[in-house]
């Protein structure tokens, strides 16, 4: 009897508490920056695609919902020829983001991707690529990699010596 009354009292008290329910979609819940939602491909500080097509995200994906094909431009810079995520399979585990060595693939705090037609959940590169650096501003993979690309020759990356003159005998 006592517990019954106690419960009713507690429920009554809740009437004066702050409400936890959001009136979605009129009101949206604030999501933390690391919330694992929509997957996007970001760009580096120069505005170029960060993705180099290394296939690590695809390999890490437990549901195998990422497929891509790497290619390279005439200066040796790699990028994905196509990049496809089948969101109808994606479990938003974030392994792809963890695997990505270039910070290209990032999970953003956005979950509003519902579709009536399942086919529309297949995202291609132009759906995924955003004009932003996402959560990791300032990182540019090609500035630390040894590969030469347009406007960055051998020895011009961070912490690189100028190319060796192999004809020199100096120590």
């Amino acid at each position: 009897m006592f517990s019954l009354l106690r419960s009713m009292w507690l429920v009554f008290l809740h009437m004066f508490h702050k409400r936890d329910t959001y009136q979605y979609p009129e009101h949206k819940a604030p999501l933390p920056a690391r919330w694992r939602g929509r997957i996007a491909l970001t760009r580096d500080p120069d505005g170029e695609e960060r993705c180099v097509g290394c296939y690590l995200c695809a390999a890490a994906c437990p549901v195998d919902c990422i497929s891509l094909q790497a290619t390279e431009d005439e200066h040796g810079r790699r990028y994905p020829e196509f990049f496809r995520i089948n969101f109808s399979r994606c479990i938003f585990c974030g392994f792809c983001e963890e695997a990505c060595p270039t910070y290209a693939i990032q999970l953003l705090p956005d979950f509003e991707m519902s579709e009536y037609n399942r086919q529309n959940l297949v995202y291609e590169k132009h759906d995924l690529l955003i004009p932003s650096q996402g959560k990791y501003p300032g990182y540019n993979y090609y500035r630390v990699a040894g590969l030469a690309i347009k406007d960055k020759d051998k020895g011009e990356a961070e912490q690189e010596e100028p190319p060796v003159d192999i004809k020199s005998l100096l120590p």
Partner: protein, 897 residues
């Protein structure tokens, strides 16, 4: 067998090995870089350090390099000793100081020995925060990419390229920590074996440029065991597919055939599979078959096959299965071998000699173990490249054996042994019509006409065995040549005689057999190796059929009306005019092929056949070894194996016997039952219902990615994966994860070993056979008990005829083979058609280099630009056969100028 204690566990190991080999053979994980099973040890990378203890009481021990220490009985060592582990970790740490942050954009990533070893030693974080050394790269041609920053200075590349394969244009330059591996200046790597650098390099300095065009990681490839289609040697390869196109060819270790290496034609000649010239659907009168009267295409074919007047033309580049079904379908009397007159004579003769003679045919590895080699009329580097590599190893054998006895060093001490051997070489004699690339290694070289080559070989046989007929009227030079060769061969225990289709002469082949037989009678363990032109030339000849010329006659005189042509471009077999005439007289031409060519142009109906990557089949190589290639991927419907097309056609035609062959295994059993020579062909690979632990063997590694996305752009609901009802392999990543039977290893992988070095885990011992034996089955064994019938018919010496030239065939590794020329990188290196003359002949016919020389054959005129080469026999002219736009299909022949 010595017993060694590793971490206090006794193991029995093989004597004469080093500790690294012993550890790897035992299945232990010991990292290494500079050691390679085929190249031996140099102790340069300091990576394989182990701790060796004096005795049981010794607790301190000392660090030693496992690759430099021979196995001794009672030895005590530790692989997992803390100090040894730390030492190895530090060595990797040093190697990595200058290694760039490239893995994401490196083609080696995922199959990288450096990655594997770094993980194995536990060096997971970079401690080095200072600047890195950089290099400029070189352009090394269309097949190999160079990225020198990644180099860890293990020296394997130059050791393979220079020491093993005899290349001259790759070397190490500069000094101290600036050493540079490359060419003296930018340019295409000249060696025919340069592609092996991709596999020999433990990291991504040398990578496959053709793979770069459609880059795929090793873990994403659907792979299958396959056989190279580039020449008659039958090297084992792994073919890898992704997104419906063939991406890469890698070596598949076979301890009896190709070992660890492939030639560039074999490695890069695969791109015809992805060619835009592929036939992708059945064509009736050059337009898609769907539009023609609504009849299924096989009904069309049946209507066009005139009863009793239909003939079939087989092909040396189609599998035994396809040729067999065609032969059954059209009947034995109507089956013709789709090869030229000369080729048929030569291969037929080789088959007879290997079957009836007392001397065994040599596999590639047997050839590498020979102690004296005679090459008769053959430019091996261009006709059978991997055999040339074997010959390079064979001539090192004798000097190495002498040296290791003198300096008391094991043969795997590569640097020391090389230093002691210097330029010493074993006996190698080359008799050819023109200079070849192997000449530089030869003890004796003689450039003369094919008939004279045969005469010298007959003379050598006479010198070895006096009962054999003497050659009369020999020139002084010839006599001397014969005497030197005979003297060198007398002491040989395992002499090897090589001849083949390259010389184009039956006399030379007979002389080669005579020589090998004479050597055998002297008590030597002689070996014979005949090169054959195409991947299944030997298999086709074993199957047997009429000659192509009689098919032409049958069509011309009207006894045959419809022709079924199997994977064959008759314009490469017959001369241009005969082929034109043949097709004019054919009522109906039905062609099964995978690429459009001159023959498919003439065809009324074309059926799209699967290439080697899209088909199962069996090939017989020059040694007589039957080997199975398995389908790497399912092509787009309606492309399918030729034998399946033909079986379906037989079904439509109502052939009762062929109808009963429901499965691939039934077909194999039928072949083995009908032809005793093919006995065992049905057991080359386990049957289709073979399972390990109830499971099939997956073609895809367990890390295969993108299954639920790769076709999602077409339909988000994934299609059912293709099923393989023909073999025990599956097209998916599900299945048995352990080691498959050696004949059907789709890829080499072991935990911790992602690179191709994981082959160690599949071998009985490093460099030895695969666990359940090397795949393939020899179908030809010598007739050891029979009486040897020596040839006594010695040809007359070659005498130039006034106004005429003897055309001899010259072959090119890049260009002479039909399919590999579809690879753009190989097409770049095809020479333009030419006619090669001796300068005196050029003067005789008043032409200079670059002029057009006109000659007549069979009433038709041809013209080719002249190239001068003074090593060529006077009175002979070399023409490159098989090149695109060459109108002369076969040589040798005598032509009027």
């Amino acid at each position: 067998m010595p017993i060694i204690n590793i971490d206090n566990i006794p193991y029995e190991v093989k004597d004469g090995k080093n500790l690294l080999e012993a550890c790897l053979s035992l299945g232990l994980n010991l990292p290494y870089f500079c050691w390679h099973p085929a190249l031996g040890s140099v102790g340069a990378c300091r990576q394989c350090a182990v701790k060796i203890f004096k005795d049981e009481k010794d607790t301190r021990g000392k660090l030693m390099m496992a690759c430099m220490e021979p196995v001794k009985d009672g030895m005590r060592l530790s692989v997992n000793d803390k100090e040894a582990v730390d030492f190895r970790g530090n060595v990797i740490g040093w190697l990595m100081t200058n290694h760039p942050h490239d893995c994401a954009v490196c083609d080696e990533g995922g199959s990288c020995h450096l990655q594997d070893m770094t993980v194995m030693t536990g060096h997971a974080y970079r401690d080095y925060h200072f600047s890195k050394r950089t290099y400029r790269n070189q352009y090394l041609g269309p097949l190999i990419n160079h990225e020198m920053n990644r180099c860890i200075q293990c020296y394997r590349c130059v050791r393979f390229y220079k020491d093993f394969a005899g290349g001259k244009d790759l070397d190490v330059f500069a000094a101290h920590n600036h050493v540079y591996f490359g060419r003296q200046q930018d340019g295409t790597l000249e060696s025919e074996f340069s592609g092996n650098l991709v596999e020999v390099c433990p990291t991504g300095v040398f990578t496959d440029k053709t793979l770069k065009q459609h880059y795929t990681r090793k873990w994403d490839l659907t792979t299958a065991p396959s056989i190279c289609q580039g020449c008659g040697l039958g090297c084992n390869i792994i073919a890898g597919e992704r997104y419906g196109s063939l991406r890469q060819i890698t070596n598949r270790y076979n301890g009896a055939v190709n070992g660890y290496f492939l030639c560039d034609r074999g490695r890069y000649g695969y791109e015809f599979v992805n060619s835009k010239d592929r036939i992708r659907e059945p064509l009736v009168k050059h337009s898609p078959a769907d539009g023609s009267n609504g009849l299924p295409v096989l009904q069309h074919v049946r209507h066009r096959m005139v009863p009793g007047k239909t003939i079939g033309i087989g092909s040396p580049r189609a599998s035994v299965e396809s040729n067999y079904v065609l032969k059954e379908l059209v009947g034995e009397d109507n089956f013709y071998l789709g090869i030229g007159e000369i080729e048929h004579e030569l291969v037929g003769l080789m088959l007879k000699l290997l079957r009836e003679g007392p001397v065994r045919s040599a596999s590639l590895q047997d050839a590498a173990a020979a102690d004296a080699v005679v090459i008769l009329g053959e430019d091996l580097t261009n006709t059978a490249p991997m055999l040339a590599l074997s010959v390079r190893q064979a001539i090192r054998r004798m000097p190495v054996e002498n040296v290791i006895n003198n300096i008391h060093m094991p043969a795997w001490q590569d640097a020391a042994v090389r230093e002691a051997v210097q330029e010493e070489k074993g006996p190698l004699f080359i008799l050819n019509v023109v200079a070849t690339k192997l000449d530089e290694l030869a003890t004796g070289v003689y450039h003369t006409a094919p008939d004279n080559i045969a005469r010298i070989a007959f003379a050598v046989s006479h010198l070895l065995d006096g009962t054999l007929p003497e050659v009369t009227g020999m020139s002084e030079e010839g006599k001397q040549a014969a005497a030197t060769i005979a003297a060198a061969l007398k002491g040989a225990k395992k002499p090897l005689v090589i001849a083949g289709y390259g010389g184009g002469s039956e006399q030379v082949i007979r002389a080669a057999a005579n020589l090998a037989w004479a050597l055998q009678q002297q008590g030597a363990e002689a070996m014979l190796s005949f090169t054959v032109p195409e991947c299944n030339s030997m298999g086709l000849e074993m199957l047997g059929g009429h000659r192509l010329e009689s098919a032409v006659d049958a069509v011309l005189n009207g006894t045959a009306a419809s022709v079924l042509i199997l994977e064959n471009d008759l314009y490469r077999r017959l001369d241009h005019h005969t082929a034109n005439q043949f097709f004019q007289h054919c009522k109906e031409v039905i062609v099964l092929d995978h690429l459009h060519n001159a023959t498919t142009e003439k065809a009324g109906i074309v059926l799209p056949a699967g290439t080697f990557a899209e088909a199962d089949g069996t090939l017989v190589n020059n040694e007589g070894r039957a080997q199975r290639f398995l389908q790497a991927f399912t092509p787009k419907v309606p492309i399918q194996e030729s034998w399946r097309w033909l079986l379906q056609l037989a079904d439509v035609c109502g052939d009762p016997f062929l109808r009963s062959l429901m499965h691939y295994d039934d077909l194999l059993k039928a072949i083995a039952a009908k032809y005793p020579v093919f006995t065992g062909i049905d057991t080359l690979t386990p049957p289709a219902d073979f399972r390990i632990a109830g499971q099939k063997i997956p073609r895809e590694p367990h890390r295969y990615s993108g299954r639920t996305a790769m076709l999602a752009n077409i339909n988000v609901s994934e299609p059912k994966p293709a099923e393989d009802s023909d073999t025990a392999l599956s097209f998916t990543m599900e299945g048995y994860r352990g080691e498959p039977p050696s004949s059907m290893i789709p890829f080499f992988w072991a935990p911790g070993w992602n690179s191709v070095q994981s082959v160690n885990k599949y071998q009985v011992e490093t460099g030895g056979p695969l666990h359940d034996g090397n795949p393939g089955k020899r179908l030809l064994e010598p007739n050891v008990n029979g009486q040897t019938k020596f040839y006594s018919n010695i040809p007359d010496p070659f005498i130039p005829v006034g106004g005429h030239l003897l055309l001899v065939p010259l072959y090119h590794i890049f260009g002479s083979e039909e399919l590999s020329i579809h690879t753009p990188g190989i097409a770049e290196r095809i020479p333009a058609p030419y006619i090669m003359l001796h300068s005196e002949d050029a003067r005789r016919f008043q032409v200079a280099a670059g002029h057009l020389l006109y000659f007549m054959n069979n009433g038709h005129q041809y013209a080719l630009p002249v190239v001068i080469n003074d090593t060529l026999q006077k009175g002979a002219a070399g023409i490159p056969v098989g090149l695109p736009h060459m109108q002369v299909a076969e040589a040798p022949l005598l032509v009027k100028i």
